[in-house]
């Protein structure tokens, strides 16, 4: 950094002291952020970790001045950027600093870029705002920074629109934009959360590399401890708007002090599969043979655009066993799940449930088999009809199969106990529950059908890590208790390692590898599986080792 500010008192790029931000009235607590203090030094990556609602994002947005001050008012403390107090700055003064001395990248690079503007122009806009460069100079500089973030063929990408780029390329554009003016502080708000694991590894590498070369101070917000282990120099742990622990990365991860941090560390699923009892008897509950799903190629004028979402997929799940299906987005893992539940119609192949092929059955003929296969979805907020009580949602299925209302309610009350909720909650509506609780309700709803096969389609992916651990435990518990065959769809290798007996890796609609979980993790045979495992963040770290 060439900037030598006279006012700079120490090497801190960012220094937050006693920051308190008030929430609007009617919120569930008074302050979004309370008495938060930490520093980000030049050339240092500081990870701010916490579960949702911890206030980490509010802190970042407050620094950038991107928060509507009438909703979220900073009421105490100071935020110093290279020695300059930001909280007292006017909107115009802040605007001059944004981009120039502090820059930000966001979680979802698709929506963070203007869809109707060429990406080169979007980077150039940064220069246009803050520098007196001519158009010619700007273009040169844009190509320079695009090269700097390892974008291939910058001259061509310059004229591309965001939708023509891959997720990783978009995030590189965002980083290039943020770094165009060499700001002292880079705030990264969950920048890899929306990316696939292999892309995530590349972007993390890039951020580390750039930060090292330019001496940028990075405030990196994440909920993923794998990422923290991968990238952090120092760690700030937040909970309910307060900093509960901070320190060097190795210390916080290796020997967490605060109970909350310890609990979090204990919740991080290990990449090493635990020893699992072998499923003793061969009792296939679900068999899929040669399952295919092809999209597109319909209509007279849309020739040639066929997408093979699933190709010749073969799988068997036995009772009492969990089969994991892992893969990145677009691998076809969810397509397989939805075909088996028959929410979509497979193009070809067999799906055998209890000795019957249900792949081609019409809705009426299919209905008797519906109860045998149940599914739990990813998004707990959309999985329950907001207008119906939890009880109504749970009894709907059993009543379709002839149970009387009284019997169905009795069953629902039992299941509420099984999933760890009070039976009295049946009268309540979904919005009165947290995400984890709703996911429990969804599990109860699926179990109410007394299924043979339970499909969990990214069922814990939307949950915070501590809640995730509990729901995983519940899933494993009900699998044993009800002798279920479980098909566990996930993109998260850590989660898969913990709950799956066997594992199936999918890439672009094709199963590339299948085997016992421990064996696949220990010695992957397919190159893609190897790259997935190699990309898993924090693979060499043991979380909270000293605390145990």
């Amino acid at each position: 950094m060439s900037r030598d500010d006279a006012k700079r008192t120490d090497t801190s790029v960012l220094s937050i002291r006693g920051l308190t931000v008030r929430l609007p009235e009617g919120a569930d607590r008074d302050f979004a952020v309370e008495d938060v203090s930490f520093e980000v030094g030049a050339g240092e990556i500081v990870c701010v970790v916490g579960e949702s609602g911890s206030g980490k994002s509010v802190t970042a947005h407050t620094v950038m001045g991107l928060i509507p001050r009438k909703d979220l008012t900073p009421v105490a403390g100071e935020v110093l950027l290279q020695g300059d107090e930001l909280l007292t700055k006017s909107e115009t003064q802040l605007r001059a600093l944004r981009g120039e001395r502090m820059a930000m990248i966001f979680q979802e690079p698709m929506t963070a870029l203007n869809p109707v503007m060429k990406v080169g122009d979007q980077i150039a806009e940064m220069l246009e705002i803050h520098s007196p460069m001519s158009a010619q100079e700007r273009n040169t500089r844009v190509l320079e920074v695009m090269q700097d973030v390892n974008l291939p063929e910058p001259e061509q990408l310059f004229h591309s629109y965001p939708h023509q780029l891959s997720g990783g390329q978009r995030q590189r554009i965002m980083i290039a934009m943020a770094l165009a003016l060499e700001p002292g502080l880079l705030i990264a708000d969950e920048p890899t959360t929306a990316l696939d694991v292999t892309t995530q590894a590349q972007i993390l590498e890039l951020i580390k590399d750039i930060q090292r070369r330019h001496g940028t101070g990075v405030m990196f917000i994440t909920h993923d401890f794998g990422v923290v282990a991968e990238i952090a120099d120092r760690v700030i742990v937040m909970q309910h708007g307060k900093v509960v622990e901070q320190g060097a990365a190795a210390e916080v991860i290796g020997s967490p002090q605060h109970p909350y941090t310890r609990m979090l560390m204990a919740s991080v699923p290990s990449l090493t599969p635990p020893a699992r009892e072998a499923v003793d008897v061969e009792r296939p509950a679900l068999t899929a043979r040669n399952l295919n799903k092809t999209y597109g190629s319909l209509g007279w004028f849309k020739r040639g655009r066929e997408v093979h979402a699933a190709q010749n997929v073969e799988l068997v799940v036995h009772r009492g066993e969990t089969l994991g299906v892992v893969g990145e987005s677009g691998s076809g893992k969810s397509t397989v799940a939805r075909c088996i539940v028959r929410l979509i119609d497979p193009t070809a192949g067999e799906i055998m449930i209890a000795g019957n092929n249900i792949a081609g059955l019409g809705e009426r003929a299919l209905r008797p088999y519906r109860r045998d296969v149940q599914i739990v979805f990813q998004d707990p907020y959309r999985s329950l009809n907001p207008r119906r009580t939890v009880g109504q949602s749970i009894v709907e299925g059993p009543m379709n199969f002839g149970l009387t209302k009284q019997d169905a309610i009795v069953r629902a009350r039992d299941l509420m106990n099984v999933v760890g909720l009070s039976p009295d909650a049946l009268e309540r509506f979904p919005h009165q529950f947290s995400g984890g609780q709703r996911q429990r309700i969804c599990i109860a709803r699926a179990l109410a059908m007394e299924p043979k096969v339970l499909i969990a389609d990214e069922a814990v992916s939307a949950l915070d890590v501590s809640v995730q651990a509990q729901v995983l435990e519940l899933l494993d518990d009900v699998r044993q208790r009800f002798d279920l065959a479980m098909l566990f769809i996930t993109h998260d290798l850590r989660v898969a390692a913990q709950v799956c007996d066997r594992i199936m890796v999918m890439q672009r609609g094709v199963v590339v590898e299948q085997g016992r979980t421990a064996e696949v993790y220990a010695s992957p045979s397919h190159a893609y599986t190897k790259s997935l495992l190699a990309a898993a963040p924090g693979r060499n770290t043991t979380f909270g080792a000293a605390a145990e």
Binding site: L23, P24, G26, A27, D28, A32, E51, S52, G53, S54, G55, K56, S57, V58, H61, I67, L72, Q107, E108, T111, T193, A194, H223, V341, R342, L343, R367, R370, R371, V373, Q374, I375, F377, Q378, D379, P380, Y381, R382, S383, N385, P386, R387, R388, S393, E396, G397, N400, F429, H431, Q432, S434, G435, C442, R445, M449, S461, A462, L463, D464, V467
Partner: protein, 299 residues
Amino acid sequence: MTDTPTSSGKTDELLAVPPSSASDPNLAVLLWRHPSIFWGGILLSIMVLIAIFGPLFTGDPIELNPIKRLKPPSGESWFGTDYLGRDTFARVIYGARVSLVVGLAVSIIAVSIGLVVGMVSGYIRALDAVIMRVMDGLMSIPGILLAIALISLSGATMMTVVTAIMIPEIPRVVRLVRSVVLSVREEPYVEAAIASGTKLHLVLIRHILPNTIAPLIVLATYICGSAMLTESILGFIGAGIPPEIPSWGNIMSEGRTYFQLSPWIIFYPGIALAITVLAVNVVGDGLRDTLDPRIARKM
């Protein structure tokens, strides 16, 4: 609110306020936050009361009085008289009945038909393409011209006027219902219901239909307002309700010839109409903001 999904994008955890609950807020609070419903509702109630009871207190709206032709507003006849000496005030009061009945009838029938067609179109793929092409075609025919043609072919009665105004409104309802159905049917809770063997008609009624109600109520008020306007336009150009019925459109139509001489014959019914439609639209806006701001775009 301890475990909101972190992948939810925009709102993320920025505002840790609980998501606006579906539990209905207290009515007083609702009216306080959306005064437009309150004031629009009051205005509308007054117009409805006038329509129901007004004609009991005024003179006969069709009584001729050749001596008092084209008299300006006075203490005796508040809104003046027309070219046959009929009392404009009595006629305007009576006209409120016609307008409100037409508006109400059109919106109820159009919404009912559109709801059924839209649900079918949204859920049965085989019929969707055909239905939507027909709706597109219907939408391309300017509503007023369509109404004019229908009325001129089948004769002007209250029935045909309501039908003619209603038909061009149907595509709007169909499109709205269809778009709600299409988005809701992808919701996991609908898929969960299907996966647990719920029959199609129950899925539609239990899980999809309730989502259409709020936007339909709003759309119904807009249709009501626009139907009243269309009715008056048809009356005004002489293609509406039979001229012997004193609808606001008919009164104004008769006033055209004498406009330069006695503008009140047009102004008073015009103002009455504007106030009524305004009240309906204001209530509609208020309901839209209250029930669901996101549906605003689909209107």
